[in-house]
């Protein structure tokens, strides 16, 4: 069924590892997006038949590197060797042909198609006429899907539509799909990000099965436990460059040895020890936001949460564990199915978004392009979003001030050091960082009682990041509440007073920043504690 794999196995068995060419070798790979350097001259070598970890925080450049490897992006510099031979992939089809299968971080299955259809999509190599007229052999595809999945140790219904499958089942189909064409190397990008602990456990077993069969696996992750458990070797990326590499023994003779290695890897990943905490809030005001039994009737909640005035509460968790649902519920873009939200003791559960802003919520959205900035409008217009339903800009429905809005925008530009040619300039003429500063300035101008800041410093340089942090701390010191949603633990430790951890739409852990322990937070995020309890 898979000639490539057998070759690998014999090669592996017959020769020393050092004489076998690496399954994948990347040399000096660089990739820029405009001014952003996602990958900076990365070297990587993956042994055949091993599980190789790629560890790094969000934004360290792991996914970009793998997209380059899979032919979905072209590197600006550098070369790729597969099995010792140079390769130039122009598209993912070339990478597939070279025996590389990829499981994307975001599911690449098409929900409207069945499992079998997704598996054979783009794989048939029939001639032109046959492609257009001969019926697809879904029968044998189904049979093969069942056979392959049983060999790997799980069951799957190949006739089911993908959109009806659970997240765990979809992940398995993704792996089937990657292996379908006889791939000998499998790249998995954060495969357990959206999985429940039992699903993740099954996946780990599956990966170990595959390694036993001789498949080379590259595992991209920012979860320390799964790297330590599965990988033979790990490469740590930070800020788009290789920060270090380490061998991971299959078994540790001494738990202290394991802890030392973990600590070293964390240091490589984050780049420094736990940062010094600046001044903590001097005193605490009464509760500003209180959330009771809040749920959206689907995957989120129920949740209880209080944020006091003069407090920065950080919500951390792996991406996609209910953070965005929480924000949508708070600002009224999503209807609460149960529970309530109160702001300064007033029930805002059934208020419109507009009324919520009026009663003191401000929101720095995570996805700037989707929710915060209107391309095609000017800087002034973008600065006035959310301020146009009354004085000072629009005291009547027939008048929207121009000069007041211009002065307002100029004020934001000055206070937050937004670099722009003029306030009338189109907002697209601003760099991403400056757009973000504009949004932050706009939201701060709402004099919020509750500031919801989702990834407020994404895309900002160190200086601007510091300015945003100072502004949030300033809000806190004046008695407002700040809800910080961040994937960047460094940021969380820098400014938060208290930390809650979200996992699968629930709060699974809470700690004050002063007592915070990065390992414990990591365990909450990845759910290993729940696992242990079960």
């Amino acid at each position: 069924m898979n000639p490539g794999r057998e070759q690998t196995m014999t090669a592996d068995g017959a020769s020393r590892p050092d004489t076998t060419p690496p399954a994948i070798r990347l040399v000096g790979v660089s990739k820029h997006f405009g001014p952003v350097k996602a990958n900076r001259s990365i070297d990587l070598s993956v042994r055949q038949g091993s599980i190789h970890g790629l560890l790094g925080e969000n934004g360290a450049g792991k996914s970009t590197l793998m997209k380059v490897l899979f032919g979905m992006m072209r590197p600006d510099a550098g070369r790729i060797e597969i099995g010792g031979r140079p390769a130039a992939f122009r598209s993912s089809a070339d990478a597939l042909a070279a025996g590389i299968g990829m499981v994307q971080q975001h599911f690449s299955l098409i929900g409207k198609l069945t499992v079998a259809e997704n598996l054979i999509l783009g794989r048939a190599t029939s001639g032109f006429v046959a492609r257009w007229l001969r019926p697809l052999d879904l029968e044998s595809a189904r049979a093969r899907a069942i056979e392959l999945s049983e060999r790997l140790g799980f069951g799957i219904d190949p006739s089911a539509r993908c959109e009806t499958l659970s997240v765990g089942a979809r992940q398995k189909v993704e792996i089937l799909k990657a292996l379908w064409g006889g791939a000998t190397t499998l790249v998995l990008d954060e495969p357990t990000a959206a999985l429940s602990p039992p699903d993740a456990e099954e996946l780990y077993a599956l990966l170990q099965n595959l390694r036993r069969e001789g498949t080379t696996i590259v595992l991209i992750s920012h979860k320390m436990p799964e790297i330590m458990r599965l990988c033979d070797r790990v490469t740590v990326l930070r800020d788009g460059a290789v920060a270090g590499e380490a061998e991971i023994p299959r078994a540790f003779s001494d738990p202290a040895e394991r802890q030392a290695l973990e600590a070293r890897l964390v240091r490589l990943m984050i780049g420094r020890h736990r940062p010094e905490v600046p001044s903590r809030s001097s005193h605490i005001w009464p509760t500003v936001l209180s959330v009771r039994q809040l749920s959206d009737g689907q995957r989120f909640g129920p949740i209880d949460l209080d944020v006091k005035g003069g407090e920065i509460l950080a919500v951390v968790g792996v991406e996609g564990n209910g953070q965005s649902q929480f924000v949508e519920l708070l600002i009224g873009l999503r209807k609460a199915a149960g529970g309530g939200i109160a702001l300064d003791g007033r029930d805002i559960t059934d208020m419109t978004t507009l009324k919520r802003f009026q009663s003191g919520i401000a929101h720095i959205p995570e996805d700037r392009h989707r929710l915060a900035v209107a391309d095609g409008m000017s800087l002034v217009d973008n600065a006035s979003i959310g301020f146009i339903d009354g004085a000072p800009f629009a005291p009547t429905s027939f008048w929207l001030s121009r000069h007041r809005r211009a002065r307002f925008a100029a004020g934001i530009v000055r206070r937050h050091k937004v670099r722009a040619s003029s306030v009338e300039a189109p907002v697209t003429s601003l760099s991403g960082g400056n757009q973000q500063k504009l949004v932050v300035g706009r939201e701060l101008s709402r004099a919020p009682r509750l500031m919801i800041a989702a990834q407020p410093t994404r895309g900002l340089d160190i200086g601007s990041t510091g300015a945003v942090h100072e502004a949030l701390i300033g809000l806190r010191d004046h008695g407002a509440a700040v809800l910080l949603l961040s994937l960047d633990l460094t940021e969380v430790f820098t400014i938060a007073d208290r930390i809650v951890v979200f996992r699968q739409g629930r709060i699974v852990g809470e700690t004050t920043a002063a007592d915070a322990d990065i390992d414990r937070i990591g365990r909450w995020m990845s759910g290993v504690d729940e696992e242990a309890r079960q």
């Binding site: 952003v36 788009g240 919520r356 802003f357 003191g360 409008m377 800009f393 211009a406 101008s445 340089d461």
Partner: protein, 418 residues
């Protein structure tokens, strides 16, 4: 609005009293109102420097718009040249027939302006919908139905002439708005694509208007088939250029331009509309109701289309004719897109299409080129507008290549983000 009447909102109070007052940081509010003398001085130079600065700021943008406008027209005209040769004419003869016929004499210019009126108003109708990211391809039907309602009102109501004129105009606008309301509701609440529904409404409008003035129809004139009775002369839009057909509709159209400009750029409703068109997500996140904006935008667009029909009925014919529109509503799409959706730009592009319309009669007589050419040119204009993003991408790619040695702007303040 005096400045004194604006009260700085105390933290989290006063919000539920219903006063139209946006919550704003007091320091920012003070700055916005220009109370701080030094800020006011810095941001408010004298009137003349401000004016100069204003035009300076505009000119870069304006220059680009004029250039795009000219290039698009040039490309469309060049692309339609083969038709001139197929027609057996030569370029010079065709051009002199076209421009001589449209602009060669006083009466010719007046006739061109007469053609410009419905194109201008209907172009505004399309542009308003486009600003909300809605493609109202049903302007033709809304225009025809508006014309019918205006004509019927003018022929059957017994009112003082000046009042009757106003009633007819508003009836026409209401008719157009009603015809736009159905697609608007279907879009807002059923998610039906407005292009398909507005097109259906076009055929319904034409059918209703033809029926209304058919031999057995309820509103047909006694002395004229396929038309309503005449609107009393005094209730018609007066002629503003003696000896020509140019009527006060031109003033109505220009007033509409000013009103739409004001509404779009100087009212909160217009802001919401433009924001929804530019980024629906950002609009929703800032508390704008998308359904409401969709309905309001379509109503405004339909009312303008109905106004175009009413003005044509009251100004040019004095009665409703079943076939009074040679497809103004479709040319209006090209008018709006060529004018880059800006109300002022629409004036220029409506004038261009009016020249084509007015010149098409002599063009046919002298050069043997069909009047339907206008439709081809407007189609080509729309095609080139559709291709503009690609052209712009190409331009910026070329610019990047030539400026490759220089670091891109923003490198200094942007670190690795993703």
């Amino acid at each position: 609005m005096t400045m004194n009447s604006i009260v700085t909102p105390p933290q989290n109070r006063d919000v539920f009293t219903g006063r139209r007052q946006v919550r704003m940081d007091p320091a920012m509010l003070a700055e916005t109102l220009g109370r701080e003398a030094d800020v006011a001085a810095a941001e408010n130079p004298g009137f003349l420097p401000r004016l100069v600065g204003h035009f300076h700021a505009l000119s870069g943008n304006l220059g680009g718009q004029v250039l795009t406008f000219t290039l698009t027209i040039a490309a469309a005209l060049i692309a339609s040249m083969p038709l001139i040769w197929i027609g057996g004419s030569d370029l010079w003869r065709a051009a002199s027939a076209l421009f001589g016929g449209a602009l060669g004499s006083g009466p010719a210019i007046a006739e061109t302006l007469v053609q410009m009126v419905p194109l201008l108003i209907a172009g505004l109708a399309v542009a308003v919908a486009f600003h909300a990211s809605l493609f109202n391809i049903g302007v033709e039907g809304q225009l025809v139905f508006g014309g019918l309602v205006a004509g019927v009102a003018g022929a059957s109501l017994d009112l003082p002439p000046a009042l009757l004129m106003l009633v007819c105009i508003f009836a026409g606008m209401a008719g157009g708005a009603v015809f736009a309301l159905i697609p608007a509701l279907l879009k807002a609440y059923r998610g039906a694509h407005e292009v398909v529904t507005t097109i259906m409404m076009n055929f319904v409008a034409v059918a209703i208007s033809e029926y209304a003035v058919s031999p057995t129809g309820p509103f047909v004139a006694a002395d004229q088939p396929s038309a309503t009775e005449r609107v009393p002369d005094l209730a018609r839009l007066p002629v503003i250029w003696e000896g020509t057909r140019l009527h006060a509709g031109l003033l109505v159209a220009l007033a509409a331009v000013i009103v739409i400009m004001w509404v779009l750029y100087r009212t909160p409703a217009g802001f919401r509309l433009r924001l929804t068109g530019a980024n629906q997500g950002a609009a929703r996140a800032s508390g704008v109701s998308i359904a409401r904006v969709t309905i309001l935008a379509m109503l405004a667009s339909g009312a303008l289309a109905g106004l175009a029909g009413a003005v044509q009925v009251l100004g040019v014919y004095g009665r409703f004719y079943a076939a009074f529109s040679p497809g103004y509503g479709f040319d209006a799409i090209a008018v709006a897109l060529l004018g880059a959706l800006s109300p002022v730009g629409v004036i220029a592009s409506a004038f261009f299409f009016a020249v084509l319309h007015a010149g098409s009669v002599p063009l046919q007589a002298v050069a043997g080129i069909s009047r339907e050419m206008v439709g081809v040119v407007s189609g080509l204009v729309v095609a080139f507008v559709a291709a503009q993003p690609a052209a712009l991408r190409l331009l910026s790619a070329m610019r990047r290549r030539f400026a490759g040695a220089m670091p891109p702007d923003g490198l200094a303040e942007t670190e690795v983000s993703k």
